[in-house]
């Protein structure tokens, strides 16, 4: 009797794993509830970060209301983030029913680039973020708008920077890729280094956000 009930439980779990797709959204909202329950800001710095991000979002929303050229965007909650370290993805609470499409750009706060939509379901979507190892886009650095290539990963790296061009730590990095709105903030240059024997140099970027800060994002069509 026990053997049969154990076998039945295993079969049910296997079926859930293979055919449990419709439960995906429910699972994400449970993740979000646990996240909200356990994420009590434990330090003054976290409160200050939260206030800063809310002020930035408020400013952005005011600009949109006053602007004659409104931006077509949808806002969404961040449900959860990819559980392993070999990818950087987040699940958000907007999907096909909100008009979201693969390739849409996702931003945070005051036009800070988060990533792109890579999978869309009925009421949720998966976003590949700029921290994903496969992420690559063209960017521009500083007031001189120096072209470079941004590669994702735990550390954001700028490559293909001509050796003769001077780049200083603190210079702003913005998006300049195709299929992404121009000028979205990515971060600032943290350090610059020469590649021995190469014609280019590389730089490390300090991003404008961390995945763990994300609660609300906006999706641009």
């Amino acid at each position: 009797m026990r053997k049969i009930s154990t076998l039945s439980a295993i079969i049910v779990l296997l079926l859930l794993l293979i055919f449990g797709g419709p439960l995906f959204d429910k699972k994400l909202s449970i993740s979000q509830s646990i996240n909200n329950l356990l994420s009590i800001p434990s330090s003054r710095q976290e409160f200050e970060d939260k206030i800063a991000s809310l002020e930035a979002e408020n400013l952005k929303l005011r600009k949109q209301i006053l602007s004659k050229d409104g931006i077509d965007s949808v806002s969404a909650k961040v449900y959860s983030s990819y559980p392993l370290n070999n990818r950087s993805e987040i699940a958000i609470s907007a999907g096909k029913k909100n008009g979201i499409e693969v390739g849409d750009t996702v931003v945070y706060g005051d036009n800070v680039l988060v990533g792109k939509i890579t999978n869309v379901f009925k009421s949720s979507s998966i976003v590949t973020t700029i921290f994903d190892p496969s992420w690559e886009i063209s960017v521009r650095i500083g007031d001189n708008e120096v072209d470079a290539l941004l590669s994702g990963g735990n550390e954001l790296t700028l490559t293909l920077i001509p050796k003769e061009i001077e780049i200083k730590p603190g210079e702003k990095v913005v998006s300049a890729g195709s299929n992404i709105p121009y000028g979205l903030k990515i971060g600032i240059v943290r350090s610059v280094s020469d590649i021995p024997g190469g014609v280019f140099k590389k730089a490390i970027v300090e991003p404008d956000f961390q995945i763990r800060q994300l609660r609300d994002v906006a999706i641009y069509h």
Binding site: T6, G20, N35, S80, L84, N85, R87, A91, I126, Q210
Partner: protein
């Protein structure tokens, strides 16, 4: 029965926590589910208990409605880690740690030669030791309570 319920609760909670933004340490997520399953494999020797626990974790961690290659790799890694706990010739704690390290290497096979990977290995090692102490003591108390009852 009670031991299975407690284990299933620990695995479910750990898996849900691993999908949140709470567990980032220096930009990295430790492989909490792999650690918990390897430790529970040392406590539950029967596969009829280990299998449902692993399947629960894999279902919760699945990051899309469909099954993709990463889900299969993760499932294979988890079952392999639980098997290694039995087959490695050393003490229980060492077997657990080695199986978690091998599991971490397999999951991150594309980025082994990197500082980030070394950090993740160290993080998993430290958390394994902490979780082993907590879970082992918890189950020692449960077993003692059950023995006293009978």
């Amino acid at each position: 029965m009670w031991q299975f319920i407690i284990s299933a609760t620990i695995v479910s909670l750990t898996a849900f926590i691993q999908t949140t933004n709470l567990v980032f340490i220096n930009g990295l997520k430790p492989d909490l589910v792999l650690i918990v399953l390897a430790i529970l494999a040392a406590i539950h020797k029967e596969w009829k208990i280990r299998t449902p626990l692993a399947l629960i974790a894999i279902f919760i961690l699945k990051f899309s409605p469909m099954i993709n290659w990463m889900d299969v790799i993760f499932a294979a890694t988890v079952f392999m880690a639980m098997s290694l706990v039995d087959y490695l010739p050393w003490k229980k704690l060492v077997n657990i740690i080695v199986s978690i390290m091998i599991g971490t290497i397999i999951i991150n096979a594309s980025a082994i030669i990197s500082v980030v990977f070394i950090e993740e290995l160290l993080l998993n090692l430290i958390i394994s030791l902490i979780f082993f102490l907590v879970i082992n003591n918890l189950y020692a108390k449960i077993i003692k309570t059950q023995k006293n009852r009978f």
